[in-house]
């Protein structure tokens, strides 16, 4: 049993921290959001240079053979510094799906480009009206000779606004809410019949709704076994959720730091407000929540690679539930203790709060993961 970072992880974490602190000021970030493109191409290149984009891939493809824990180390820093780049959709999600299900041709074609920073990708697994149930897929893939013709809509696709290629789920057979009969397809963002409506999410990162209208897909763009995508989808979504939770933990750390600092400097009634016992205890609660959230983030990151779907699902859903509830209330306390200043957009607190809010909802909200945890824990025995 060991809860520390390895030496490599410490190095990685430190150099990423340095990169982001040096190049990613509040003003730079806000300008990227306000004026586009919503992330920094320079920093994306820097990620590529430091090997961040190669992290999870096998060494023989030029990767670093990193684990989900390595991804967590990265994600914590991305969250801490509110980095905007589509790391999770490109590297964790699309990269993960390719690793798990890609053909040799697909891997050699795409992974190298991801590693070099020349390819951004996204993965669309949910639809309008399906809420967080990835099995409720109305997008149809109709066979047409060896090709498939895709029609449907994918909603709130993280990184979908800037992705060059988007992996989408579509139904090749089965009833609308069945886990069977789902297939993944790699779609070019500029293919005929693809429309995307890009937007900023509330934390400034990009997302998109992707509409597919009779989009023709050749066999080479079918990812994995036809009709058997569910297992891959679940694992990719779990890895993405674990990484988002790690980002959220990084943001949480900053929420607590900012609040604690404010309690020390803000004076009212002739003393720092941190002298008021009620605020002290609220701050202590936030510390308790953070420590416990950290434990769960460690655990879900350690389990995100596992192909034991039940174990992995329970671990990831636990973390999503915990951060979704306790991180949420901690953010509310943080704003409350800041008072008026916490309501202003100029002050940075709100940015961290919104980052955590996105992590709370994306890939399933608290209720979704609570039900999933319950099902996995109590309904089988």
């Amino acid at each position: 049993m060991d809860f520390g970072y390895s030496e490599e992880q410490v190095l990685f974490s430190n150099s990423l921290q340095k990169l982001l602190s040096d190049s990613y000021s509040v003003d730079v970030r806000r300008k990227l959001v306000a004026e586009g493109p919503g992330y920094s191409e320079d920093i994306w290149k820097a990620y590529a240079e430091m090997g961040l984009l190669a992290l999870p891939f096998p060494e023989d493809m030029g990767g670093l053979d990193g684990t989900s824990v390595d991804a967590m180390v990265v994600a914590i820093e991305l969250g801490r510094h509110l980095a905007l780049e589509p790391y999770i959709p490109t590297v964790i999600m699309a990269g993960g799906a390719l690793k798990l299900a890609g053909s040799d041709a697909q891997k050699s074609d795409l992974i190298e480009k991801i590693i070099s920073g020349d390819l951004k990708m996204a993965v669309g697994l949910t639809e309008p009206g399906s809420r967080f149930d990835m099995a409720e897929v109305s997008t149809r893939a109709a066979a047409d000779g060896d090709d498939y013709i895709l029609s449907g809509v994918k909603s709130v696709v993280l990184g979908g606004d800037v992705a060059d290629k988007i992996i989408v789920s579509a139904r090749t057979s089965g009833e609308t809410r069945s886990e069977d009969g789902l297939t993944l397809f790699i779609v070019d963002a500029d293919a005929d019949g693809v429309t995307r409506e890009g937007y900023a999410l509330l934390d400034g990162r990009g997302g998109a709704d992707i509409t597919l209208e009779n989009v023709r897909i050749t066999p080479s763009a079918v990812l994995g076994t036809v009709g058997q995508a569910w297992v891959i989808m679940e694992q990719v979504a779990d890895q993405a959720a674990a990484a988002l939770c790690a980002e959220s933990l990084g943001a949480f750390a900053r929420v607590n730091e900012l609040t604690l600092e404010y309690l020390k400097i803000r004076e009212q009634f002739g003393q720092p407000i941190g002298k008021f016992q009620v605020l002290q205890h609220h701050m202590a609660d936030m510390l308790i929540e953070y420590e416990n959230a950290q434990s769960l983030v460690y655990r879900s990151s350690m389990m995100a690679d596992s192909d034991d779907a039940a174990m992995r699902g329970k671990a990831v859903s636990s973390t999503k539930v915990y951060l979704g509830e306790r991180g949420h209330t901690s953010c509310q306390s943080a704003i409350q203790m800041h008072g008026g200043i916490g309501m202003t957009a100029e002050y940075e607190l709100g940015d961290f709060v919104k980052r955590m809010a996105v992590a709370e909802v994306m890939f399933g909200d608290v209720d979704h993961h609570l039900a999933r945890f319950g099902k996995l824990s109590y309904m089988s025995g």
Binding site: Q268, F276, M343, A345, D365
Partner: protein, 398 residues
Amino acid sequence: MDLNYSAEDEAFRLEVRSFLENKFPKDIGERAKAGIRFKKDDYYRWHKALNEQGWVAPHWPTEHGGTNWTPVQSNIFDEECFAAGTPRQLPFGTRLVGPVIIHFGNDAQKERYLPTIRSGEEFWCQGFSEPGAGSDLASLKTRAVLEGDEWVVNGQKTWTTTAQYADWIFCLVRTNTDVKKQAGISFLLIDMKTPGISVRPILTIDGDVQINEVFLEDVRVPKENLVGEVDKGWTYAKFLLGNERTGIAGVGLCKNDLENLKTIARSERKNGKLLIEDPLFQARLSRAEIDLTALELTNMRMLFDIGDEGTPGAIASVLKIRGSELQQRFAELQMEATGSYALPWQQGALEPDWNGKAVGPAYAAARSPLYYDRRKTTIYGGSTEVQKNIITKAILEL
């Protein structure tokens, strides 16, 4: 004991409804329902309609245009307005500075200010809070020094809601630094067009610009703009804050929220059923509705208890605390109910002049902004912590 409204009250409710039906501009109500932001003109048109009906300052003495409504009637009026989606009547003129002028102002001030407050020709804003004086309001630092016939004012106010629309600001200013901090404060009326005043809007986390910083640099204010006695401003401020209580619970607002929430929960689907049928969501919705029912009744009990005397006790703090929490809760539940489509940050879609197409269902765009905006309710008007301190002293006597 009887929970029913009297026949008179029911008749009054119909009268209010009919007024709203005929006189409240429909386009404003529709924008309100969709979460679109109000323009200055919306506030003004609503104010004008109220004034024409003689309902713009119901709580003022009748000789100044008040209506003599009972507290229950005031409450009915608020409820119906919220149900119809009227803008909140900006409180600064009729609700806040008006009563101060009526009680403590001289005849000249009453003649000068009350008519334009009623008519809406002049809008007001409130210059109380400062960067260093929030919960601890009495530590304010803005200085006013008498030079001849003018007060020369220097300092900074903040969190000044709708200052960008305002023609006048009523300010607490420090006129004496040699005494206890509460004892050296005066109450000054300042024309916003006076040289030396500048307004800097503050963007808030909900993406809106409603509050402002107001900078005062050698602002020269006629001597006669001081209300009441010099150095007695703290008394007037306390009187003013005490008048802020009616409607503090926000019951009407929450009822409107509840309806919106149910609409969303009947539109969203989960596991092939309506979200409103989902046991977990339904339980949260039920709890919020039960809390709201309790709050509404507690509000009524308070109105009943104070009767015509008009000065609610510290029990108003109970209403402020629970009301503000519920206003937050309903915003939170609406955001939750909306699911993923609460994530796109569609500021444009909330502007009155926007012509684009929003992402997701029509109700989605305003849900996150509303959630973040509502965080302020437990901060302003005396934070929850301050209210609990008031309860501690005034009711619990600890």
